[in-house]
């Protein structure tokens, strides 16, 4: 019983990081119908930047976290400006945007390699004070609780923002139809840039939390999560924020349980992607995705 409970906690925990990563992914997709494949590179840079601020800058992690998240947001603006804006007027902007985002991913990854080196590095010990709580055979660290709490907080804040705030409503309007939004007087290009800002900031936050927990950061760490993030948003329903959260948790749990049952991590991705495949056959729009009412 303890064993199962511990495994569920492990899954919930890694799932919430996946969720946070995927929320940023799905936000851009919902607004632009474009996959931003540089998202994983921003995730990596977020983690490495926070590490640099803590290690070289001597900042506390509580300060380094928001600073680094802000920088990632600015990186998102840059991404939009360089990779997407010049292509937006073209006929096939979806496809060429995808390709130019891959180019940006390569540039960001090389920048990380040049700035931080290829070695696997970690946050200095005691960056975050860690308590370990134990009930019987179950153990939870305060870091895990903090990471889940921060992830949920950010995701709830985002949902509230999209539903209540004026800018959030504008994002949803642009997602629904950008031409109509423009006619209604919404500054569409500004809203898209703002969406990239939020999306990249969340991606960077996920990178820092990931690096803090696993104690290992390297310029290629985004690769392991890139495909999973994609699978998570398909599983949850493209463009759906609650779907991305649910998909992340489901993906994390399926991974952990697969490893626990088989005793090897080789089948982990195979099972996770088989689940994805099955969901797509049974519910092509994903768990929480709505059927498209009309084609734009």
């Amino acid at each position: 019983m303890d064993l199962l409970a511990q495994q569920l906690i492990n899954g919930l925990f890694i799932g919430s990081v996946y969720g946070l990563f995927a929320v940023g992914y799905t936000l851009v997709f919902g607004v632009l119908d474009i996959l931003n494949l540089a998202h994983a590179a921003v995730f990596t840079l977020g983690g490495l930047l926070a590490l640099w601020l803590v290690e070289t800058g001597g900042l506390s992690i509580w300060l380094a976290f928001p600073v680094s998240v802000l920088c990632c947001g600015i990186l998102g603006l840059l991404l939009d400006r360089v990779a997407f804006v010049p292509l937006r007027q073209r006929a096939d902007s979806n496809f060429s945007g995808l390709i130019s985002s891959i180019a940006m991913a390569i540039i960001f990854e090389s920048a990380a390699l040049g700035l931080f080196g290829a070695r696997t590095v970690r946050f200095p010990a005691h960056t975050v004070p860690v308590h370990i709580w134990r009930w019987g055979g179950i153990s939870i660290t305060s870091l895990q609780v903090e990471i889940v709490a921060i992830s949920l907080l950010l995701m709830v804040a985002l949902t509230q923002f999209l539903n209540r705030a004026r800018a959030g409503k504008a994002i949803r309007a642009v997602a629904e139809n950008d031409r109509t939004s423009r006619l209604l007087g919404i500054h569409v290009d500004g809203i898209i840039a703002f969406t990239f800002f939020i999306s990249s900031a969340l991606g960077g936050a996920a990178g820092i939390l990931f690096g803090l927990y696993f104690d290992s950061l390297s310029p290629d760490m985004g690769r392991s999560i890139e495909l999973k993030g994609l699978a998570v948003i398909i599983l949850g329903g493209m463009g759906s924020i609650p779907g991305a959260i649910l998909g992340g948790l489901a993906f994390g749990l399926s991974e952990v349980l697969t490893v626990a049952i088989t005793g090897t991590s080789n089948l982990r991705d195979a099972v996770a992607f088989t689940v994805l495949f099955a969901v797509l056959i049974l519910r092509p729009s994903g768990l929480l995705g709505r059927k498209k009412m009309r084609e734009a």
């Binding site: 303890d2 890694i14 970690r122 153990s139 690769r223 005793g263 991590s265």
Partner: protein, 378 residues
Amino acid sequence: MHNVQRRVGMTFSLCMALIFISGQVFAAAKEVKIGFALSMTGGGAAYGATQKNGIQLAVDEINAAAGSEGIKIVPVFEDDASLPQQGINVFNKFINADKVSLIIGPTLSNTAQVTDRIAQQAGMPVLAVSNTAKGITEIGDCIFRDSLTEMVVIPNTIKVAKEKLGVHKVAVFYGNDDAFTKGGYDAFKQAIADAGLEVLTEQTFAKGDRDFSPQLTQIKSKNPDAIIVSALVEEASGIVSQARQLGIAATVPIIGGNGFNSPALLKNAGEAAEGVMMGASWNASSSLPLNKKFVAAFTARCGNPPDQFAAQAYAGVYIAYEALKKAGSDHKAIQSALGQIKDLDTVLGKFSFTSGRDAEHTPVVQVVKGGKFAVFGE
């Protein structure tokens, strides 16, 4: 005319006399050329640099002590650039142009697989001082090595863990998609079976994994006496720190292979690395008098303490010297003299060659203590 002739004659005889006398003084110290093929650039450059320091120290010591009776070593250093192709050029130069008596090196096993075949064909004795891959000494009867393989180090670690810590039931955790970690697992598996330990569970991970908590949770539920891990250092750090976070008690030791033998483990796993055990062929804190002298001399000269690669290279020069003293510069004689080396005192301990020309000396078991690698039980 006559006068000039006499003067020339006197000068001539004086010169002859001088040559004769100087010959008496200097010719007694016989000079022997050793070729050192090291990786001074490329991927193995960090190892090559420390090996060269160890070699230079040994050569200088031997030459200073040679006096008029002993032999002097003339070192010929060449860089193999960590590449097998360049290694071939270096070996050909040593064999055909420099006509050395013996070759020490190359740094990397990968290079040795190619270059040692050339030496074997030419009948040139080779002493490897850092190759641990399987099959190096099997290339032929000219190839020797003083670096212990995992097949020797790992059974010793398991034996010590069983006898000193009372380990009986173990969990095994290894990377099953990498030649090195899989090789380490095979060695552990053999050693566990030979020592009669019970394996409670075997779990695996893949290269690039960062989350090891599912497997470690399974391992924890079995309550093993020790966890045996075959991993490269990147994954090793993650495994060690996540195991402790999941509440696997510090009294359950984590035992690793050669991949754990890296300062990166201490840095990346931090406090969680305390108590981690691993085998090694040499440890700086070993209390052998020869070793203490070596560590002090090396530190004074290079400004930093030696590592395992420097120690094995340093010992290699002394092992070669032992054979050269007996055999002179004839290749066949050197080869048989090397084969006869038995219980030679070196910084690695009492050193002998096995019948398969592999190293035989007692390996050490290290434990992480106070953020450093210490010898277990000392």
